[in-house]
Amino acid sequence: MSLTDLTATELLAKLTQGEITSVELTGVFLDRIAAVDPTIHAFLRIDRPAALARAAEIDARRASGQPLGALAGLPVALKDVLCTAGEPTTCASRMLENFRPPYDATVVARLRAADAVLIGKTNMDEFAMGGSNENSAFGPVHNPWDTDRVPGGSSGGSAAAVAARMTPLAIGSDTGGSIRCPAGLCGVTGLKPTYGRVSRYGLVAFASSLDQIGPLARTAEDVALILGVLAGHDPADSTSVDRPVPDYARTVSKPLSGLRLGLAREHFGEGLEGQVERAVREAIKVYESLGATVREVSLPHSKYAVATYYLIAPCEASSNLARYDGAHYGHRTNQEAMLAELEIERKALDAAGDTEGLDRLDNALVRMYRRTRSEGFGPEVRRRVMLGTYALSAGYYDAYYLKALKVRRLIRQDFDRAFEEVDLLAGPVTPTPAFRLGEKVDDPLSMYLFDLFTIGANLAGIGGISIPCGFSAEGLPIGLQLQAPPFEEERLLRAAHMFQTATDWHTRKPPAI
């Protein structure tokens, strides 16, 4: 058995016992990346010497008996939406292709402080906008289970990297399902924590009120291990919550007794593919066999979730992405070409005697903005920026944004009511297993509907986890989603671990690679 087949928890034990060094381990994963990633394209950047140097430093400290952090020597991959000081942080966008932030995201600083080995930056949908990873400016990620299929998005690189054994641990971000969806489609375990549980400082914002950073790993145990490092209050993020962080790694193995599972009626209806429903219902039977009781609940406003989400998220995105204007950093259009273009247009208008047209003609600054943003952003980002700009415009604000906020409150109340009756909600992560690359690229609406089951948690601000619960006829992973009341990550992880002690779906390995 290769080291890459072991979980993070198992590898940490070997490191602690001195059976292996971090340099060996890091080297094995780097070799695996070199061998596999040309097919998968999960990583945007690897710095092999830096990773090995960091591993050697941790090994040296371990050898000399110095105290070490909770992840000492373990490789962790970072979604390229997290700022790493002095290193490119691209968000898979042309706009930030050469951007190097001068600071570390809080989670990156925490991982460094925990002595993790940051092994590379993973591919993603541009600015985390997308559910298939096809929106990366640097090319899509391929699903390790079937490289003709999408890995899910937007943290597709992180999920595929864990699934293909290129890293034991990865960090993603989840705005509408961007951790859980690729975790489900790639057959790994992915957690979206409660909004405010993990600091967003240094996470390049997509939709600030929905974004949350979380881990992807092979098991709930591994997720618990790294969540303990990520979680906690950060004075630099006003929306991070100051409440104690439980010792997830210690409690994850304790089964929950008397667990009450709720099945949201609305999550088992139209659009859910039969084989996904069957796998999910089988998983629920496993819980019943472990002593859980199951009842049906209702989230009556969930039918509005997609519409609500696709107003709030683009509105916030249109504002968050306004800073990419070419003035201070990132891509800027070619100035000479831009001025030449303007001059040609000016002359043409002048020749035609079109004074109104001349009056309307962009000045150089406005044309610089237009060209910079048109060149720097891909089509999906442009679409969402335009949707959001439109919805926030005078005369539309009340009908769109304000109404969406009201519906968002109703959706949150649905969850509150459901959690009065049950401890966790259980259901599918996605309506179908992984679809083919290119299958939905011309149909944004059907792409948006793919988020149907995951965006509720973001709108309500609650936590959710995706765990493998079966395979389709084509051999594609199917995910089970559990959702919990706010700040009940411990409950989610314990429930996920219960399932993973009773099943072995999470141990399956993509056969093709």
């Binding site: 997290l82 600071y103 240094g202 006003s238 929306t239 201070h328 950093y329 926030l392």
Partner: protein, 491 residues
Amino acid sequence: MTEPYTIIIGLEVHVQLSTASKLFCGCSTAFGSPANTQTCPVCIGMPGSLPVMNREAMALALKTAVALNCEIPRRTKWDRKQYYYPDLPKGYQISQFDLPLSEKGYLTISDSRGRFEPKPIRIIRAHLEEDAGKSMHDEVAGKGDSRIDLNRTGTPLLEVVSEPDLRSPVEARAYLDELKLLLNYLDVSDCNMQEGSLRVDANINLHIDTPEGPVATPIVEVKNMNSFRAVERALDFEAQRQYEVWQETGTIMGAPGGHKTTRGWDETAQVTVPQRTKEESSDYRYFPDPDLVPVTTTEEQVEAIRAGLGELPAALRERLQKTYNVTPYDADVLVNQGRELVDYFTELADRCGDGKMAANWVEQDVLRWLNDRQIGIGEFSVSADALAGLLEKIKGGDLTTSRGRDVLTAMLDSGQSVDAAMRKLGIQSVDQNELETLCGELLAANPKVVEDVKEGRLKAVGALIGQAKSRNPNVNPGQVRELCLKLIERM
């Protein structure tokens, strides 16, 4: 008013609050540092950076709002005001839109010269926002290059918006003076217009009486005024200009060509000039900033702020008039000098027991000394206590007012006490025997005066006082008078 119109003015004042650090990050707010040296990922809007509210800025803003008699809502929030400009690195300014930290206040203005009656000017709202950076357009280079300095980006600004309650440039000036004075008393801003810590935009139009009824001229927003005097002049000019334009064109508000426009004050030419703006009104696409949490303020907090305000100019003027019996004009002069000078005055008045006298001395002698040297009362070397000693001597008749001035000058020059200064000037009290001798000699030499007094014309004794003083400058005129009358009675 002789003009056939009423001037309608509303002011928007941006005040830079004197916090050590910016509104949403820890960068310094100091003025005048090399460009782009007081920045961090937060204030320059780096991807992934997040704002954290400066509590001190909110405290100063609330203090000001309470002093402006504003209502303080229990909950306020932050909104993004979105527009593109290179000195606005995030593409939006964090401001407050529909739930400002305060609203519905007023500031009472008055004029001790009586040019208008005291009146409250309503404040629509006072809210906090972050400042933008500075653009420096390098027109010399001829390429239209611009340079951006982001040191100022994120500095806390309090925007105070008045209702259009001001009816003349003089009233506008009075409002600004009073607002600045209040801010000084509150110690929330240095109000330095040259450094941009206080900026004024004015909205002005005219309501003109015509035979067909009143009409309004289009509203003009006037910008670029870098002193209160410039505001007054710009508004004077603008009122006259609007009237002339109306007489020529008849264009009124709301009619074609009657939309609101923006003009800038040209200090050199002393005229307002049109500023190029897009015809359509700007759509800032305000929405709540999801990176910041709403701020709640309790009734108790507001009361604590109110209790800690100290005595503000309006109340202070009233107290000076009531307690120290000074005129409204004197109260105005004293209060306008700031709290420190008022403290000096009240201590002086309390010690010498004569408010009017204290006011005269402070306004004429103390202020002249300070103004000549461009120093503050803190640097005035004669304490209120020492000056009170001097005033007591004047009241007691030991010194004339003009001799008293000499003594004060000597005290200031030498740093000596009252008595030492008097000794230095050769001023000493005259012995009773010496005085009797002197008066006896004077009566003997002036039989006519003695006769007049005996016939009841007591005023005649005044002639002797002058003679006594020329013989001995140190005599107390009151004592001379009293003694002479006594001696004549015995004769």
